[in-house]
Symmetry: C2
Subunit: 643 residues, 2 copies
C-alpha cells in the first residue's frame, strides 16, 4: 500500500496517509476543525476541499461542488490520494475561521449577566451559598475543659460561622490539619466545596491565617453545535469572562443522532476527547484573559443534553437513539475535575446537570432555573430550540415536557445557505407584496453570506404573505415572480443575488428546504399542543412563554406566530431568555437554593415520549400547513394583511 503526504495550506501542517485513507481522515489527523455534518458518509457535501497540488481519485458517485465561482470543491470524505498533495480547506468548510466566529450572543451574555448583584442573582435566587467558598475564622483553642478533636473543633467553628452541618473532610486535610491549626495560631482560612448531588460540604483545604486569593467557578453549556463557558468570580458573583466555540464533535456529525451512531461504531472516546478539548480550550482562553491559573477554578457546573452529557462522561450513548430510548443514567455520580478531564483545580467537584430522559437533558434542567416557572402559580411554557427542540409546560405544581425532532434547521444546518448568526448572516427579511423585492438585515451589516434561524422564520412568513408559497409551502409557478426559478431539483427562491453577496453566489431557498422548515415548525407547535392536550388546557391558558436557545439572535415572535410555529397569544407574554443553560449553570454555582432545584427538578418533570401513541402525529399533520389546518387556532394571523 502506498503512503502519501498531505500538506495543508495555509496551515502548513503535513500528515502522512495511506491510499485508502480519505482526505477527511487527513484533516482530522491534522487537527483542523472541519464541517462534516454527515459524519463522513458523503451525503452532506460540507467538507469541501480545494486540491492545490497533486492528484486524487474520487469515490464512485462523488462529484465536485461548483457552488462557489472559480473554485472546485471536492468532498474530502470521498477523496483519496494518488500522489503527495497540497490541500486547502476553504473557510466555508472550516468549523472555525471567519464564517464561524463566535455567536454574538456570547458577548451579550457577559453584559447581561453582570447585572446580577451579589445579593440577587435574578428575582428568584439569593446569592447565598456559592458552590465553593473560602471563609476565615478564629477557632477557640483546645483546653482540658474543651478537648474535642481537631476535626470536630473545626467543624463546630464552621457551623457557627456558616450554619453548615454536614461537613466532610478529605483524608489529605486530616494529615495536615493539626499543624495548620497550630501554625496559624487558630486563625485559618477554610475552603468549602459542595459535593455534587449530596447534602454534604467538603472541607477541601485549610490555610493558616487570612488568605485573600480570588477563586472562580466554571459554568458550561455543552450544546451539540456550540459550547459556551463562563468564569464566575465566586466571591462577587460576577462573570469575569465568557467564551464560546463550536463543539469539536461537529467533525463527527451535525446532530446527536449522527454522533451517537459514530460512538456506537467507533466507541465514545474520540467524541469525549473532542468535547473535552473544546471545553479546555475555552478555559485556557478565559484563564489567559483574566490572568489566573487553572487551579484558581475551584468548581464546575456543566449542563448539556443527555447525549452530550453521556459523551462528556464517556458513557455509551447507543441506547439513546434506539427504542425505547433509554439513557445509561439521568443522574450522575460525583466526580472531581481530574477524573472528568477538565483542566481546572484537580480536586474541584464537577457538577453535572441531571436530565429527565434521553431527549430532555441537563441543559433544560439548568434552563428551567432561569425561568422561575417552577415557583409560578400560572402556566408557563419553556421552549429551547437548538440543535434539538425541547419544551416544558407547567407551574409550581407540575411540569410536563416533550422533545420534538425539530432538527437543526433553525440553526441553519441542512439548509444549503443556512448558517448561524455570525457576521453576514441574514437575520431579518421583508419581501414586498409582489414578491419582487427583498429587504434584509445581516449580522454586523456585512454582505450576506447565508441566512440564520431568525432570517429563515422571517423569510417563511413573508414568502407566504407575498403569495410565493401556498399553505403547504409549495412554491407557486408565476412567470412574473423573477426570484422564483426552476432547477432540475425543483423551484428555488433567490433571497440575494450573487452580485450582492459576500461570497459572490446566489443565496436562495429551495422548495425542499422550505418543506423542511415547515416540518420543523410543525413539530414545535404539535409538541406544544400535545402537552396542552395531556393536561387538558387550551393554548390561551399559557401566561408566559420563555424562548431559549440557539436561534442565534432573537427571533421575530410575530413571524413565528404567522408561520404557525408558536401559539397565537399576545406578544407581551413572550420573553426571550437567550442561553438559559449557561445562565442556569451559573445560578447553580452561586445559589444554594438554585443548586437544590438543579439536582431535584429533573425528577419532577413528566416526560411525554411523542413517538408513543398517535396524538402527536395527528397534531403534527395538522400543523404542516401555514399557519395550521385549524385556522381558529391563529385568530390574529391574516394571510393577506401586512405585518
Amino acid at each position: 500500500m502506498s503512503s502519501y503526504s498531505v500538506s495543508f495550506y495555509p496551515e502548513n501542517i503535513i500528515v502522512m496517509i495511506d491510499e485508502n485513507d480519505s482526505l477527511l481522515y487527513a484533516i482530522n489527523l491534522a487537527g483542523i476543525p472541519v464541517k462534516a455534518s454527515c459524519s463522513g458518509r458523503g451525503t452532506c457535501g460540507s467538507c469541501g476541499i480545494i486540491i492545490k497540488q497533486g492528484q486524487v481519485k474520487l469515490a464512485v458517485g462523488a462529484v465536485p461542488d461548483q457552488r462557489y465561482q472559480g473554485k472546485e470543491f471536492l468532498p474530502a470524505c470521498r477523496c483519496f490520494p494518488l500522489s503527495n498533495l497540497v490541500v486547502e480547506l476553504p473557510t466555508e468548510s472550516k468549523l472555525t475561521g471567519q464564517q464561524v466566529l463566535l455567536d454574538n450572543s456570547f458577548g451579550e451574555e457577559t453584559e447581561t449577566l453582570n447585572i446580577y448583584s451579589k445579593n440577587t442573582l435574578c428575582d428568584m435566587f439569593p446569592f447565598d451559598s456559592p458552590v465553593y467558598r473560602k471563609i476565615t475564622i478564629v477557632i477557640p483553642e483546645p483546653s482540658l475543659n474543651d478537648p474535642i478533636d481537631d476535626l470536630s473543633r473545626l467543624n463546630r467553628s464552621i457551623h457557627k460561622a456558616t450554619g453548615m452541618e454536614k461537613l466532610r473532610p478529605t483524608m489529605g486535610l486530616l494529615r495536615i490539619l493539626p499543624d495548620l491549626l497550630r501554625r496559624g495560631g487558630w486563625k485559618i482560612t477554610i475552603s468549602l466545596a459542595g459535593i455534587p448531588g449530596s447534602e454534604f460540604t467538603e472541607v477541601d483545604f485549610v490555610e493558616p491565617g487570612c488568605e485573600n486569593d480570588r477563586y472562580f467557578g466554571l459554568a458550561v453549556d455543552i450544546g451539540t453545535t456550540t459550547v459556551v463557558a463562563q468564569l464566575v468570580d465566586l466571591e462577587s458573583g460576577t462573570v469575569t469572562s465568557a467564551k464560546g466555540a463550536f463543539n469539536k464533535q461537529a467533525s463527527f456529525g451535525d446532530d446527536v443522532i449522527t454522533r451517537i451512531i459514530y460512538a456506537s461504531e467507533h466507541g465514545v472516546i474520540v467524541l469525549q476527547e473532542a468535547i473535552l478539548d473544546t471545553i479546555n480550550e475555552l478555559i485556557e482562553e478565559m484563564l489567559e484573559e483574566i490572568s489566573i491559573k487553572p487551579s484558581d477554578i475551584k468548581a464546575a457546573v456543566c449542563a448539556g443534553n443527555t447525549t452530550m452529557t453521556h459523551v462528556l462522561l464517556g458513557l455509551d450513548p447507543s441506547n439513546i437513539r434506539l427504542e425505547p430510548y433509554t439513557p445509561v443514567a439521568n443522574k450522575f455520580p460525583a466526580m472531581r475535575a481530574a477524573r472528568a478531564g477538565l483542566n481546572i483545580y484537580n480536586q474541584a467537584w464537577v457538577h453535572i446537570a441531571p436530565g429527565t430522559a434521553s431527549y430532555m437533558g441537563g441543559d433544560i434542567t439548568a434552563g428551567l432555573l432561569v425561568t422561575g416557572m417552577v415557583f409560578a402559580d400560572d402556566l408557563s411554557l419553556f421552549i429551547d430550540i437548538g440543535t434539538n427542540g425541547e419544551m416544558v409546560l407547567g407551574n409550581k405544581e407540575w411540569l410536563v415536557s416533550c422533545a420534538c425532532s425539530a432538527g437543526p434547521a433553525f440553526e441553519g444546518w441542512g439548509i444549503k445557505h443556512g448558517m448561524r448568526a455570525c457576521p453576514g448572516a441574514i437575520e431579518r427579511v421583508v419581501i414586498s407584496q409582489d414578491g419582487q423585492k427583498v429587504k434584509y438585515d445581516t449580522v454586523g451589516n456585512s454582505p450576506p453570506m447565508g441566512i440564520c434561524g431568525s432570517g429563515l422564520i422571517d423569510a417563511l412568513s413573508w414568502l407566504y404573505k407575498s403569495g410565493i408559497i401556498d399553505r403547504t409551502g409549495s412554491m407557486i409557478k408565476d412567470p412574473n415572480k423573477q426570484r422564483v426559478r426552476e432547477t432540475v431539483s425543483g423551484r428555488e427562491f433567490v433571497l440575494a443575488w450573487a452580485g450582492e453577496t459576500g461570497n459572490k453566489a446566489d443565496i436562495y431557498l429551495s422548495d425542499a428546504e422550505i418543506k423542511n422548515l415547515i416540518r420543523s415548525k410543525a413539530a414545535v407547535y404539535a409538541g406544544i399542543r400535545t402537552m396542552l392536550h395531556m393536561v387538558g388546557l387550551p393554548v390561551e391558558a399559557i401566561s408566559r412563554v420563555y424562548i431559549a436557545g440557539g436561534f442565534g439572535r432573537q427571533i421575530n415572535i410575530r413571524a413565528a406566530i404567522n408561520i404557525g410555529m408558536l401559539p397565537d397569544i399576545p406578544l407581551e407574554k413572550y420573553t426571550y431568555i437567550g442561553n438559559s443553560a449557561v445562565k442556569g449553570a451559573r445560578l447553580a454555582l452561586l445559589s444554594g437554593q438554585a443548586r437544590e432545584l438543579f439536582y431535584n427538578i429533573a425528577d419532577k418533570i413528566t416526560y411525554l415520549e411523542l413517538s408513543n401513541g398517535n396524538l402527536f402525529m395527528d397534531e403534527f399533520i395538522s400543523a404542516l400547513f401555514i399557519p395550521h389546518t385549524e385556522l381558529s387556532l391563529f385568530p390574529t394571523v391574516e394571510p393577506e394583511a401586512g405585518l
Copy 2:
C-alpha cells in the same frame, strides 16, 4: 567514617552500617522484629544481642546483661561496631519466635465465633445486611411505557429486592452498565457495598447472569501490642480464618506514648508502614489458608485505639500525648483499600471504628457492640485492659468512660519476667500460707519462661494472703521465707527456681515490680470509682461487668477482687468477653444495625479526662493499698482467709 558489615546469625542477613549506627539500627535494617520497649533509648534492656564475632563498643553507662546463664546480652541500641560483626538476636529479644508465638486466644476466637449462625450474630444483632453483598436479580426490560434510564431501572430493582433506597453507582459501573444489562439478558448479579459512615450503598459491580463466587470481609483489631484479624464469609457469616501477630510497631516502643514520641520525632510514615505490614502479612496467611485471592476480600472493618488508628491512616498523633490531648479526628473520611494500603480488593471500602477521645478509641466502640450494654436498662461496666486501660459505664440511656494509665504491666511488659500468655507463661499461682511453696500452672504445661497477666494478679493476691507483702505492697523481711531475697536493687520473691524453668534462670518479682502492679490495679479501681462518682451511684449498682482484652487468658476474677482491682460484687456478675474489638468489627461487617451503632455510639459516650481535677487522684491514692484504704468497699475480702 568507617562502615562495617553486620551478619545476623542464624538468619544469614547481612547489612552495612556506619560506626555511629547502633546495632538496633542494624537489626531494623535487616528487618528482624525486635523488642525495643523504650524505642532505643537504652532504658528497657529488651533488645539484648549476643556478639558471635568481631568487636563492639558500648555507649557510656551501658552494661551487659547477665540474666541468662552463660550468655552475655549487650543492649543493641547502645552498641556500636568496631569491626565487621556476626550477631545473634536471641529468642528472648525477638518479637516473633518460640517465646512469642500467637496468643492462644487467637485460636479460641475462631471456635467461639463460629457459633454465630446466619440469623443471629449474638443476642442483639440480626445478620441482616452484610457490609458487602451480592444479589442476583431479574430486571424488567425497558419499553416505551417504561423507558426510565438504565441506572434508575437498576436502582428500582435493587430497592424491590432489598428495600435499599440510597444507592450510588460508581462512574466505572455506568460505563459498562448498558452493555452488561443487555448482555446478561436483564438477569444480573449486583455487588452492593456500604459506604463508610454514610447512609448510602454503592453499586460497586454488576455481572451478567448469576454469579456464585464467595466473598469475604476482613475484621481487624489493631492493638498496640498485638493485631488480630479474621476473614468472615459474608454469605454465611462464619469466620473462615483468624490470625494474630505482634504489631511490628513494637520495635518503636511498647506503648502508645513511646510510639507517639517516635512519630513526632521521625514522622508517622515508618510506623504506618509497620502496621500495614503487620496487617497485610496476616491477610496473606489467611488467603493462603483458605485459598482465595486478595480481590475476594470486599470490605474491611478496622478497630484500634486512637493512636493506632491515627498511625494506620498516616495522621499525626503528636497532640494525643500533649495536654489537652486532642486527636486529629475521632471520625474518619471514607477510604478505599487501595488508598488505605490494605492488600485486598482495591475498591473495597475500609470502615474505621470512630473513637471518642485520645484515650477512648475505636476498639472500645467496637467492643461495646459485643456487650449489648447500650440496649440494657440496668447498669453495666465494660473494662478493656490491654496495653492501655479503658472503661465504660452505662446503660441504654447514657454512657460515661475513662482511660486509666494502667500501663502494660498486666500484659507482662515492664516486668522483668513478665510475658504474654504464650507457652511457658505462668498463668495461675497459689502460694502456701507460710510463703515457702509456690504452685503454678503454665500455658501449654511447658516449663515456666515467665509470668503473664492472670499469673501476676494471682501472685499479687497470694503474696498478700501469705503475708509476704504488706498492704502497701512492700515485702516483709523474714528470714524464714526463703523465697524472699535481698539484692542491691531491693527485695525479690522467687516464683520459680532456675532448676524448674525453661530458660534455666530464676523467675522472680521484685519489690519495685509489685509496686508497679499495685499502681496499675489502683488506676483501674480508681477509674471505676471516679465514673461511679460522676453519676452518683455506688459500686453495688453495677449489674454486669464485661472484661475484655489483653490479659491473655481469663483472669481469676476472685484474685482481682482480692487485690482491689475489680469491684467487690458477686462473681456471677462478671463476664469475660475476650477480644471484643475484633468481635465488634465482625458484627459491623455482618449487621446493618450493628454498623449503625458502630458509627454513632462513640458520639454518645461522655469521656472523663481523669487528669482534669482531683477526684481521680484522691481515688487513686486510696486504692494504693491492698485491697483498698476503705476496707468497707471490699466486704468479702478477708486477708487471712483462704481463697
